[in-house]
């Protein structure tokens, strides 16, 4: 740089405008949940009504949700998913505020483990029920609209909130944000979507993130090569 450091400091301090401070991560988390969760639930319910009314004529989305809210197993699973969303969201929002303790990154471990265990247990039960011939991990494209509908709003609002801060540790923060958005979307999916597609939602989010990450890395490499 041609400018001296003292001159730079002088120019930065000149006519300094006031800034709006970044709110506490808990406040931003509340904003995220309040904005994204209702939209996710609404879109999830609407898409389910549209896509599955022909297949599951006897089961309407809201009836299914009401039923799942009364089952202990479903409630436990929903609690684990919601806790994963909240803790991962909090940790991700802490990650864009430099100087905050990185201990928050550990918060989602417990609820996420519980969620994964429940997914594993469901898979195992299904495997025992239908046998190895019928069991497959192939993506069901009929679930795709529901996955997009429930996951889009949490991901979008999270990106907007993250962009307000500074990505001090991009990989961890983006990973936590993806987990949070997936989990919040999974709540709606678990409530309104008849089959258990939460594992598929996690998979889609992971693939989408890795794809975007790959493009970003490629773009960054190209930029530095031709800069």
């Amino acid at each position: 740089m041609n400018i001296s450091t003292n001159d730079l400091i002088a120019s930065l301090s000149e006519d300094l405008p006031p800034v709006q401070r970044l709110a506490h991560p808990a406040k931003r988390l509340a904003k995220w949940v309040l904005l994204a969760f209702p939209v996710s639930l609404l879109l999830g319910a609407l898409v389910e009504q549209q896509s599955f009314s022909l297949v599951f004529v006897e089961r309407q989305s809201f009836a299914l949700a009401a039923e799942r809210l009364t089952e202990t197993r479903s409630l436990l699973e929903l609690a684990a998913i919601l806790m994963t969303a909240l803790t991962a969201g909090y940790a991700a929002l802490c990650g864009v505020q430099p100087g905050r303790s990185t201990k928050a990154w550990m918060l989602p471990i417990l609820p996420f483990t519980a969620w994964l265990l429940m997914i594993g247990e469901s898979c195992f039960a299904l495997f025992q029920q239908i046998g190895p011939e019928q069991f497959s991990f192939a993506p069901h494209w009929t679930c795709y609209p529901s996955v997009v509908a429930t996951g889009a709003a949490p991901a979008l609002v999270m990106v907007i909130l993250l962009k307000r801060g500074m990505l001090a540790s991009p990989t961890v923060t983006v990973g936590l944000a993806v987990l949070a958005a997936s989990a919040l979307g999974a709540v709606g999916l678990r409530l309104f979507h008849p089959p258990d597609a939460t594992a598929m939602l996690l998979m889609w989010q992971l693939i989408a993130t890795l794809t975007l990450y790959g493009f970003a890395t490629l773009g960054s490499a190209m930029k530095s090569r031709f800069a």
Binding site: T5, I9, E14, V19, P98, G99, G165, M166, S224
Partner: protein, 243 residues
Amino acid sequence: MVPDIGGKSAIGFVCRPSLFRWGTRLGYTVFLSGRPKAQFNKKVCIAKMINETERAQQDRQWSEWMFQAQEGDGAAYQNLLMAVLPLVRAIVSKRIADPDKTEDIVQEVLMSVHKNRHTYDPSLPFRPWLSTITQRRTIDALRKIYRQGERETLVDEYPETFLADETNMSPEDDLVFALGDDLNRALDTLPAGQRTAVELLKLREMSLKEASEASGMSVAALKVAMHRALKSLRAEMVPKAEL
């Protein structure tokens, strides 16, 4: 008496922030060598307390300045940036040895601090916030340096950039070029015969015979004039060239 380690006292050595923790981890006894443990610990503890108090005061002052800067106080912001410069330089130079690059990265850190000043929470200490930004920018700069290094080849001589002579001059050529004016001035001081000899023989690069025909002077006269001219020019130019 406090043991000496490379010209620094043990207490001074141990109390440096980065090494203090290392010293405490070893129980302050690492530099003792037969001294009573209690006495040494007392000195270290006092030094530690002074160090931490100063550090805490400094941190509070920086937090206060940053709080004011977020409100739009330019003077507080300037004080803050000037005060944190040594810390930023220290963090950057820990990873990057080249002083020119260090200063560039320090400036990038300052711009990053400016851009992200809204992310500072005044209820938290200022130092970790600044350290995180500084380390982040330093790592980014290191990545850039490594990436550039992969595609760069060191050469002894710079290759030609353009065909024009002016673009391919070495510093020595520049010196000669700079002395061109002095040469003209020195030529003006020569008598007419000597100046003609230099112009024809050296500047126009004529042979003695051609110069003799062009000037009407004999070959011998041209030789003498040229010899005297060079002697005068050397006396005029050499002291300036040596400067």
